[in-house]
């Protein structure tokens, strides 16, 4: 696995520049998007309960694309020299390593369109995790992965990281299928600090790409201010 010596991530630079914002101290495996005014405006639209479904789709897709682009920057590249149509040689880089997406049903599916816009015809596995009514713990109900998933980098998709329960269960399932922890990149739009802390405490080598870190959870474990139920707003309202 080779890589260039250049800065792998725009978010890393942004993180250093953003120490004075609302973010505070995040675990070192967490990467946020550059917290620009423009990004804040995108979040303001999707948080607004008055936003129409059409606008919700358009603007959440924009954020998802940015997140996937950021996630892909954590994949390795190799040096590659090519010839241009003008006859010049150019020292560039080539992409390395196979990837696949894994979406946590059902809200995670909403991120698949954005993923495929960036990664054409990428394979996508699925996981269904629900709360077990008896134990109140997350339980795996269903999973379907590409057969060679152990050899791939996995982009794990779930739009909201609240308590982190189902995300941790999903990582556990992936690892059971032979995916090493450091090859999992978890992508979400909004995280609660509590969930981030629990998740990163348990899986410190999984990289978490998040668009925005919110204030926290309310007594019902909803993210505040959040945006409500992502799957509900995307599919039903």
């Amino acid at each position: 696995m080779a890589s260039t010596s250049t800065n792998p991530s725009a978010a890393q630079a942004a993180r250093q520049a953003n120490t004075s914002t609302h973010l505070g101290a995040l675990p070192s495996s967490v990467y946020t998007l550059p917290q620009t005014a423009q990004l804040e405006a995108l979040y303001t639209i999707i948080r607004d309960k008055e936003t129409s479904r059409g606008d919700f789709l358009f603007y959440s897709d924009r954020i998802i694309r940015l997140l996937v682009e950021e996630g892909l920057n954590h994949l390795p590249v190799v040096n590659r020299t090519i010839e241009t149509p003008t006859g010049a040689t150019y020292d560039g880089v080539g992409f390395e390593g196979k990837i696949c997406g894994v979406s946590i049903l059902r809200a995670g599916e909403a991120m698949e369109a954005g993923l495929r816009e960036v990664c054409r015809s990428v394979r996508i596995g699925k996981i269904l995790i629900q709360r077990d009514e008896e134990t109140a713990l997350p339980k795996l109900f269903y999973s379907k992965f590409p057969p060679d998933i152990a050899k791939r980098y996995v982009l794990l998709l779930d739009p909201m990281l609240a308590t982190g329960g189902s995300a941790m269960k999903a990582v556990e399932v992936l690892m059971e299928h032979g995916v090493p922890e450091e090859r999992i990149i978890f992508i979400n739009l909004i995280s609660a600090p509590e969930g981030l802390k629990t998740f990163c405490g348990k899986y410190p080598n999984v990289r978490v790409i998040t668009g925005w870190v919110d204030q926290g959870l309310n007594e019902k474990a909803f993210i505040i201010p959040g945006l409500g139920d992502f799957g509900e707003r995307r599919y039903c309202t």
């Binding site: 423009q38 003008t86 560039g92 880089v93």
Partner: protein, 503 residues
């Protein structure tokens, strides 16, 4: 493009004609080099003014854009009382007061200063000014015609050449009867009544006396010699105003400074260069490679344009905005401080960035300009401009954010022209965001930057070199001698981006 020889002049009095495109009307400093050339054609009703205007256009031959502007468009808005009179042929349309002279002068002054103008439309069947206006822009020559064209001193100030068409009164009457019977469906009695009541006194009192202001008096018939003289004069004036500088800015250090080393530094150009993440580097490598398939080229061009536009959108300004989320929490975030964002792509290769642009801005209007190189001089020619409504009207243009899309800035000639067009329309320089894949450091960008210091330029990469080459001409309709011309290729570049995306 309309062919001059086959264009029908009868249909409308206000006409825009384009024969072979409009050469630069600005210098390397970005400022306009001169005004449009304005010819006024006055004369009595049915004296043959439209014919003279038409003959001038025809005789000029291969001329850049010409606008023919008719005084009829500027009849005033009528009150209900006036409307009754008008329909009874009792309203005096031949008095100078019937015409909105201040508006006429304002529209002409805008067009002469190379700005856009939205002129009123007057309906003869309704005898009324309509709500709609007609958008005009980009004339090198403007011909205004009308019986009162030389009457108003403010208008006379704007003319470069004043022509009066002299014609016998009885000939004018004969033509008038013929025309009104055929084209306007009137009766002979009504026509004569109107003639004796309004037309004749008006001619004697207001029209004929203005012939003393004319530079040239042209006979109403058999006037070929006079028209040839006028055209020779116009051609000479236009030649003096031509601005040629593409070669100079293509490689500024060689042609402007006379050295072989380029000492332009990226940091002096105030460019926003995309952060060179692994993905951006990988995408650029794929787009630059000559072995990339068309399918891959399209996919990665779309992806890069999306990333670029997202980056460019950071240049807009945002203001605080408070919303309530579905969980009932208040959230103070931000929103865009403008409801007018649009794009203009420079065809053809600007179209390569359109998908990314549409992915990032919902339902965004995208206009276009078509700029091609003159086969003999290599200078850019504006062949077509279709601009979004937010730019066409000056009061809207002043508040609009305009994204200009093109795949690269090489010589900078097309970028120069597109930006000048937007400034002509009243768009603020600091609200123009130029989005492009590649910028050539040694190319025209340094001159462009000096000319338009506040325009924001967002690019994915900066290439070092401009290689000079020679394009052999081939004989064709537009190039009968098959002359070749110099051309410039960016190195390492991506090859011909438009061809790779579309062909």
């Amino acid at each position: 493009m309309k062919d001059i020889t086959t264009f029908s002049f009868e249909s409308k009095k206000n006409t825009v004609l384009v024969s072979h495109g409009r050469p630069p009307w600005y210098g390397a400093n970005g400022l306009r080099t001169g005004d449009a050339f304005v010819v006024a054609v006055a004369g009595g009703s049915a004296s043959g003014k439209t014919h003279v205007a038409r003959q001038i256009v025809k005789t000029l031959g291969s001329i850049p854009t010409v606008i023919i502007l008719s005084q009829d468009s500027f009849y005033k808005f009528h009150t209900p009382d006036e409307l009754v009179l008008a329909h009874a042929n009792m309203l005096d349309f031949d008095h100078p007061d019937a015409i909105d002279m201040p508006m006429f002068a304002a529209c002409l002054a805008d067009l002469k200063a190379c700005k856009q103008s939205n002129i009123p439309i007057y309906s003869f069947s309704e005898h009324q000014r309509l709500r709609d206006t007609k958008y005009l822009y980009g004339a090198t020559v403007i011909i205004t015609e009308g019986i009162m064209a030389l009457h108003d001193p403010a208008l006379r100030e704007l003319y470069d050449l004043k022509v009066f068409v002299q014609c016998d009164s009885d000939l004018m009457l004969a033509r008038r009867i013929q025309r009104d019977l055929k084209e306007r469906g009137r009766e002979v009695g009504g026509i004569l009544d109107q003639y004796l009541r309004f037309v004749k006194p008006s001619y004697d009192n207001f029209v004929r006396p203005t012939s003393s202001f004319a530079d040239i008096i042209v006979p109403g018939s058999n006037n070929a010699v006079a028209i040839e003289l006028i055209c020779t004069h116009i051609r000479r004036q236009l030649a003096d105003r031509a601005s040629r500088f593409r070669q100079k800015i293509a490689i500024p250090h060689r042609y402007l400074l006379g050295t072989e080393t380029c000492d332009v530094r990226v940091e002096d150009l105030n460019l926003t260069v995309l952060p060179q993440t692994r993905q951006v580097q990988g995408i650029l490598t794929i787009l630059r490679s000559k072995d990339t398939s068309r399918q891959d080229f399209i996919f990665f061009a779309d992806r890069l344009s999306t990333i670029l536009v997202e980056c460019a959108l950071q240049h807009l300004s945002y203001i605080p905005n408070t919303v309530v989320t579905p969980v009932g929490a208040k959230y103070t975030g931000k929103k865009l401080d403008s409801d007018s964002v649009c794009g203009v792509s420079i065809l053809r290769s600007g179209g390569v960035l359109e998908r990314g642009f549409r992915r990032s801005i919902n339902n965004v209007p995208i206009g276009s300009v078509l700029v091609q190189s003159d086969v003999s001089t290599g200078e850019p020619l504006l062949l077509h401009a279709m601009l979004p409504a937010a730019v066409r009207f000056r009061h809207l243009a002043e508040h609009a954010w305009v994204f200009v899309l093109d795949s690269q800035i090489g010589t900078g000639a097309a970028a120069f022209m597109a930006i000048r067009i937007l400034l002509d329309h009243g768009v603020r320089q600091d609200r123009i965001v130029f989005v492009t894949f590649l910028v050539a450091l040694a190319g025209g960008v340094s001159v462009l930057r000096k000319a338009f210091p506040e325009v924001k330029i967002v690019c994915a990469a900066v290439d070092e070199e401009m290689r000079e080459g020679w394009l052999d001409g081939y004989k064709g309709e537009t190039n009968p001698e098959g002359v070749g011309r110099r051309l410039w290729v960016m190195q390492p570049g991506m090859g011909h981006i438009g061809d790779r995306y579309y062909l």
